[in-house]
Symmetry: D3
Amino acid sequence: MRILVVNPNTTASMTDKACIAAQRVASADTEIVAVTSQHGPVSIEGYYDEAMAVPGMLQAIQSEKDFDAVVIACFDDTGLDAARCITNKPVIGIGEAGYKVASMLSNKFSVVTTLARSVPALEHNLMKYGMERQCVRVRSSEIPVLELEHDGDTAAKKIGLEIEKALAEDRAEAIVLGCAGMVDLADKLSEQFSIPVLDGVTCAVSLCESLVRLKMSTTRQGGYAPPPEEKIKDLTQIYCS
Amino acid sequence: MRILVVNPNTTASMTDKACIAAQRVASADTEIVAVTSQHGPVSIEGYYDEAMAVPGMLQAIQSEKDFDAVVIACFDDTGLDAARCITNKPVIGIGEAGYKVASMLSNKFSVVTTLARSVPALEHNLMKYGMERQCVRVRSSEIPVLELEHDGDTAAKKIGLEIEKALAEDRAEAIVLGCAGMVDLADKLSEQFSIPVLDGVTCAVSLCESLVRLKMSTTRQGGYAPPPEEKIKDLTQIYCS
Amino acid sequence: MRILVVNPNTTASMTDKACIAAQRVASADTEIVAVTSQHGPVSIEGYYDEAMAVPGMLQAIQSEKDFDAVVIACFDDTGLDAARCITNKPVIGIGEAGYKVASMLSNKFSVVTTLARSVPALEHNLMKYGMERQCVRVRSSEIPVLELEHDGDTAAKKIGLEIEKALAEDRAEAIVLGCAGMVDLADKLSEQFSIPVLDGVTCAVSLCESLVRLKMSTTRQGGYAPPPEEKIKDLTQIYCS
Amino acid sequence: MRILVVNPNTTASMTDKACIAAQRVASADTEIVAVTSQHGPVSIEGYYDEAMAVPGMLQAIQSEKDFDAVVIACFDDTGLDAARCITNKPVIGIGEAGYKVASMLSNKFSVVTTLARSVPALEHNLMKYGMERQCVRVRSSEIPVLELEHDGDTAAKKIGLEIEKALAEDRAEAIVLGCAGMVDLADKLSEQFSIPVLDGVTCAVSLCESLVRLKMSTTRQGGYAPPPEEKIKDLTQIYCS
Amino acid sequence: MRILVVNPNTTASMTDKACIAAQRVASADTEIVAVTSQHGPVSIEGYYDEAMAVPGMLQAIQSEKDFDAVVIACFDDTGLDAARCITNKPVIGIGEAGYKVASMLSNKFSVVTTLARSVPALEHNLMKYGMERQCVRVRSSEIPVLELEHDGDTAAKKIGLEIEKALAEDRAEAIVLGCAGMVDLADKLSEQFSIPVLDGVTCAVSLCESLVRLKMSTTRQGGYAPPPEEKIKDLTQIYCS
Amino acid sequence: MRILVVNPNTTASMTDKACIAAQRVASADTEIVAVTSQHGPVSIEGYYDEAMAVPGMLQAIQSEKDFDAVVIACFDDTGLDAARCITNKPVIGIGEAGYKVASMLSNKFSVVTTLARSVPALEHNLMKYGMERQCVRVRSSEIPVLELEHDGDTAAKKIGLEIEKALAEDRAEAIVLGCAGMVDLADKLSEQFSIPVLDGVTCAVSLCESLVRLKMSTTRQGGYAPPPEEKIKDLTQIYCS
């Protein structure tokens, strides 16, 4: 099967990192097609970036024709609902994936993300997914997204400090790392703290494989009903030409 | 004061209707500046339209320099959080406004909107605003948005049928009309059913006046912290040139 | 228009303070009619005071005939539901007003009120209004209501300490001051902490102006249905003669 | 022990009925002291009546000196929180008692009360007590409170119809009768429908006996801290002389 | 009346302690029949013990024929729902009892239990009972259950430290002790901290007396419908012979 | 990898059906090891059966040594939390799996299960998993579990009727079949109603594959901490020899 991993920001090095991680967990017969959004913000830190990233991300999905499932590789699940309207193939956000996997391994977990400004958007998602009780707290490590690309050690240290607090104060039994850029830190931190430390990219790839094997498709009734084709054509022209 | 009423879809006749309604409730010293988004969907019916409308709407706000508050004239409060990041002037969505006014006049209310496909997005908003208990049910009248522009009588009839059900089954004490295009029906329906029937456009304009008189501005801390200026400049260029 | 600002406690100096604040934000054509309850507690600190204040407050409303809206100037929204039964004019409590304005300016806010004994009543209100998630915490500064009248400086200092904690621990993006007696501190604290610090009196006056301009009245169906006139007459005689 | 059963409305025949029911379930060594409020509404139907009943009810409690626990014999638990501030003896409302007993006998229950106007106040209580999930629905039989005194047969029939609906539509496993005036119908309806049908008066008396045997008293910390004695003296003079 | 107090673990000394406490609060005409489960874990600390304790506990109930109500004397309310299916006599868990009594004496309470591993199971119960808001926090004192049997002084000290934190951090107005083995500490701690400190065993016995006096039985409709007799016979044979 | 599919009831034909379904979706390199509990109820319909099934089911898990993940093949997720304590391999219940997959394909779904008596247990699970909002309603088709084995056509018809109601009344966008015995009906019903109709067995197997590929294990901290080995040995002897 072919799984499309879309990076909704335009920083190709983050796409590469996500791709490597995705390939690591993918089955032998799964091809990872990693694409970088062609127009939008270089990083997604808060509501504005998130909103401005969606048309570019939807275009990236639409310009790929041949895939079996889509992973949205940004932890605030940028444009997830809109993407589910334009394809009946399963679409999973990496935030959603991280929360759902954590909820099958622990009673309670905490999230460690990048900046405080991103926290309210994540909290809205948790509420939407019904995860507001199992997720005790969304913690910010105050590492900007792009710094994760350049200074992994400092990042690991800051994130480690927040994990310590999550264990002591939140009684978290697992940790979800709250940024696609942290994908390479999960294993090390998991070992260091002897609890599951999850990264959303790998979780989402693997859940996509599940949905494809189950031959599942996104419902076409209600909120995810496809928009009229003409509308899609018009809008694609406006934003993506 | 100057209140910017942004129609996030590109149908100018809806902007005109909203403008007239806005002027009707505005104070004598309030100027209504109604603008139509220059690129995006002709109507907003569900998640995809909503997402594709945001960059055009944000650009419409950014291209106006001189205003004291912003009304987002689409009932799913398209891009509300993003808009609050790019200006510290108060920004109110007409869905939010309708719910909050209804909550000050009744114990419980129901919403009557256009299509079933729009319902889940509204339900997510209600949860985000903490209105999921006071709003008993979001009902759809199965009138497409643009039909409201052409056949007001049929629309009024269909909406009336849903209001009857809301009174009998939901024990609603007030009704919020769930589309900017229904703005001209509120008074008539209110009289017909002897309960408050609210339209979001007028509610939002009036709440904006309040916030301006209170000299309030949107917080700059946390989730609504302004993005770096450079990012805004870059993104504006991408989408809006 | 004429807005009735009712102080449900019997301390006239608090009424005066509320009146001055109300006039400051009122429109030129709005007349503020501030009245002090004629019998009841000198301050409202907890459930007992609250309950004993209501008949006097309702009488104060009933003895005024000519008004367009009512503000209940006590932060626990004393008798709000009962007041909505005896007049179809909009009635807004200052707690309710503070919360609702804060919810349009921030993702999350905290309340700083007077005494710990008042906290549970406020928490019940927040739950009733659906604000229990957007309001992170109700903090008490341990300043008795009447001390606010005599020692504003100490009060401002104690409240400032709680705001600091709200920023650090609650990640509050705005603050609502939890007592009518704090009305004169809002602007200074807002400037000091660079976030919106709201006082309920001014918020309520301005929201009342909105509702009046919108020609809104409280629903007469369901929980706010007016009691039989005879009952009102009888009860008014019992308590208020 | 002596249990004070306070009827917060002024209709003595309802007090008598409650007293008889109370005595039926009371232990041999329990004395029921039933008192009727001396000033306030003749029946409590909605927010206004409820508010106007409280000072009279509190006075009724204060004028009795020798009791071990208090039952507030109105289904909307009129003034319950205020009463807990003026005595450290256990105080239980009959609504609260009915809900809590039902929650120990069934997974889910529904309430059948008198008028639609009383429903929102009951729903607020259910939320406050955390019973909003176990109580599926508050149903109104549209029988005015005082009609229960005069036409028991019609009342039983109307209530029976609502119980049928509760079984079919709400999947209720038990029913709580939502008015002190229905106390004599519980056993018959319970037999007729083969499920527990509870009346709050008897439940509250029995729970009071429990609390007294457990030597429990209401907390004096936080929201139920006693008001200063002087305040109580002053206020008692105002309303109750 | 005869109240069956079942200790679902197999440690007889805990049964004895519970029995003494039960007798202390029982009415003169109530006989306490304390039984120890004949097979299952020696203590219940977490999900596994809980699950393994249930068949033994149900057998202990089934082998007693003559009783009027059942108390399940383990704080995680082991097998409560299953027990309600096999007898129509009232069945109350000591956790449930502690929470419900606390909720009639205070606005908010905290729980102090034994080990951290037991906390999630208690939190699930609180959610099921609708007590997740009134119970601010479940605190663990890190005392293993059986240590309570041997070193009461150390236990009292550790529990006292958690109560101090509950007062300061949770603004708890009452405390519920979260283990049957703490039954003898409640009075002393209550006096020491001047707030209600509840133990579930005595609360449950007293609530059972109430339900019996009210002639209440568990509903036979819905989730507590009795299983077919044959099934019960078969299963009893499997586990309990 | 080897996935253990445990049928917690003792009806081998249901195990066979689950095994066939599991194999259908499993990857080529996954071996399905289906085991039937050796002692416990023949079907699980409600709380009592559920409780009596757990020791047998845990023994079935413990007697298999070589597996990578466990599926609990009963829709009420019998003993899920206990099972997570005795192995660090991922354990997933088929109810949990069905809900979580449905939540990634639709905004809202409904459940169609067997008997009304099973509904409350499922509703408690939904609350525990945070799925109480996305799952609109748990519907019972009044087909006993074992009838599913013998009369598939009648079952399909009754279930179809409930799906129709779920679409019309609940606005469900997907359906989760609420019994392991319905596993062979999902595809047909999905086609018939043009929406995703999910069966939990296949969902759980596929999610297990995901967790294994992700090299995930259940947390050993907090509520899922392993019990002392001695305790496990003792209890295994008691119930399972």
